[in-house]
Amino acid sequence: MKVDLERTILRPKVIIYLAIIVVLLFLPRFLSTFNLILFEYGLTFAIVALGFNLLFGYTGLLSFGHGAYFTAGAYGVAMMAKYFPELYSMEILIPGALFVSFIMSAIFGFLCVRHTKIFFAILALALSMLVYALVFKFYHITGGSDGLYVKIPRMFGMTFEGVRRPQFLSGVYYYFLLSIFVLTCITMKGIVNSPFGKALQAVRDNEIRAELIGIRVRRYRLYAFILSGMFTGLGGALWTFINGQVTPDVSHWVFSGEIVYMTLLGGFAIFEGPIIGAIIFTFLKLYAMGSTEYWMFIIGATLIILVLLLPTGIAGGVKSLTDIIRGKRLFSGGASHVNR
């Protein structure tokens, strides 16, 4: 039992995570409301990027259409606000958003996973642009280019009548978002470490051999696609409450490209990479936009530097740095043999 405790709770990585969670709990005291809300945007995108990376980093499928599932979650919430105001409560909205994104990713995924590589990427993009066109054109239902307004929902019996949004966001909602984020991380870590996650990585590494050891490649790609879409939809739903409004550009491929960008920025080969990438991207984009009208130049230049100098992303860079400092204990996993 004692050994077990040492191996689970007292591992340095776990201690670091717990420390980070404690810091995050007290974050509203340190950050200005503006930066806190920006950080919340970062957290929702972190959930989205984690979901995206299940498909990209772990299954090896690059989707340029994840905006569609984000839209499913976001518009799922906004439409509920418009058409079923009596059900407009967080504990219904979150499962509802998950359900809508499940349906959409199951249908689109079924079509997409028949292909891989560039064909997969383009098909995913095309389907998301279809969603964009529908959301844009069905003005009476979706509000067209004006989008839909999203008011503050009820949460677990609490109502927020007359509460201003920044107040809501820096109070209850921050802790709600944080707990969903932590749950997402734990669930996702569980998925990638499970036999299922290992199978996805086998599919990514060697499709033919995976088939030959009895893994149903296409089926598992579809499962990964659906899970990925649902996490993205969850992120989309959580994002609407911060943003207060949904517009069709979240289904445009440019937005999907931003999800790819965040993941690359953080590093897709490391579990935490997309989280770091999403948060840094959110701040980078907003401060770049605030300081110069040539903000796209900054984003583009960052991407070039990234691809040329840090292909493994920020997290990958940090990891190789710590590996060098520790004297290249690259294969420290060897201890597993002793412990078995």
Partner: protein, 253 residues
């Protein structure tokens, strides 16, 4: 356990496998020899389900699997390894064996805990690595293995599915000459240990002579000779076709 009956596979005018019949008994290690383009790999692809035959019949353990899916054949116990190493490059050596085990026990669908929690699977994976003498390299990436160890791992993956019949496509190609016998020693002793049958495609006649119970010689899609290794080696007809020794001259390269 495996019976192949009048199997045919043509690619246009090329008769890759032309009316081949053969039988493999339980625990038997059979070498398949023949020059390039003789149809050896096509035959193995037909048996493993990677290709479908034009006509003929394949029976494995009393059931007709001629047109069965690759997935079904794997579940029935037909495994294969590859001429060009086919591993999971970004997983550890341990995981390369552990993932097939998860697949075999249907745990990819059912196993919800982290993979490391399934200690019995981990132990079985180590047992397999032990059997193939690579258990000290469990934490390495396959990219860091020697060519020989990589080949052994490739066979270990097929082995871990508890296959009854393994189709090994040139298990020693690319391995340094001095290492070939070590690799074959390891593989064959593991197979003999578990009484697994194997069809081995092999070019090196010394290896064929040392490790196989029976030899099948193929030429232009047909099996031209069959017998004990030394009988086949001494067969003038086979020698002339395989090595161009005897009446015929070596043509071109």
């Amino acid at each position: 356990m495996l019976t192949v009956d009048h199997l045919k596979k043509y690619f246009g005018d090329v008769k890759a496998v032309d009316d081949v019949s053969l039988e493999i008994k339980g625990g038997e290690i059979v070498s398949l020899v023949g020059s390039n383009g003789a149809g050896k790999t096509t035959l193995v692809n037909l048996i493993s389900g990677y290709l479908m035959p034009d006509s003929g019949r394949i029976v494995f353990d009393d059931s007709n699997i001629t047109y069965a899916s690759m997935y079904k054949r794997i579940k029935m116990g037909i495994g294969r390894s590859f001429q060009i190493m086919s591993l999971f490059d970004n997983a550890t050596v341990l995981d390369n064996v552990r993932i097939p085990l998860f697949s075999r026990y249907e745990m990819i669908r059912k196993g919800l805990l982290p993979a490391d929690r399934y200690t019995d699977i981990k132990n079985e994976a180590f047992d397999i690595l032990d059997l193939f003498s690579i258990s000290d390299k469990d934490y390495l990436s396959p990219k860091d293995l020697s060519e020989g160890d990589g080949k052994v791992l490739d066979v270990a993956i097929a082995f871990s599915l508890k296959s009854k019949l393994l189709l090994l496509d040139e298990p020693t190609s690319g391995v340094a000459t001095g290492d070939k016998f070590n690799v074959m020693d390891t593989i064959v002793s593991a197979l003999r240990n578990e009484n697994i049958s194997a069809i081995v495609i092999e070019h090196d006649m010394d290896i064929v002579a040392d490790y196989s119970d029976r030899v099948l010689a193929m030429h232009e899609g047909k099996i031209i000779a069959e017998g004990k290794p030394n009988e086949i080696m001494q067969d003038r007809n086979v020698r002339s076709i395989l090595f161009g020794i005897g009446e015929q001259n070596v043509s071109g390269n």
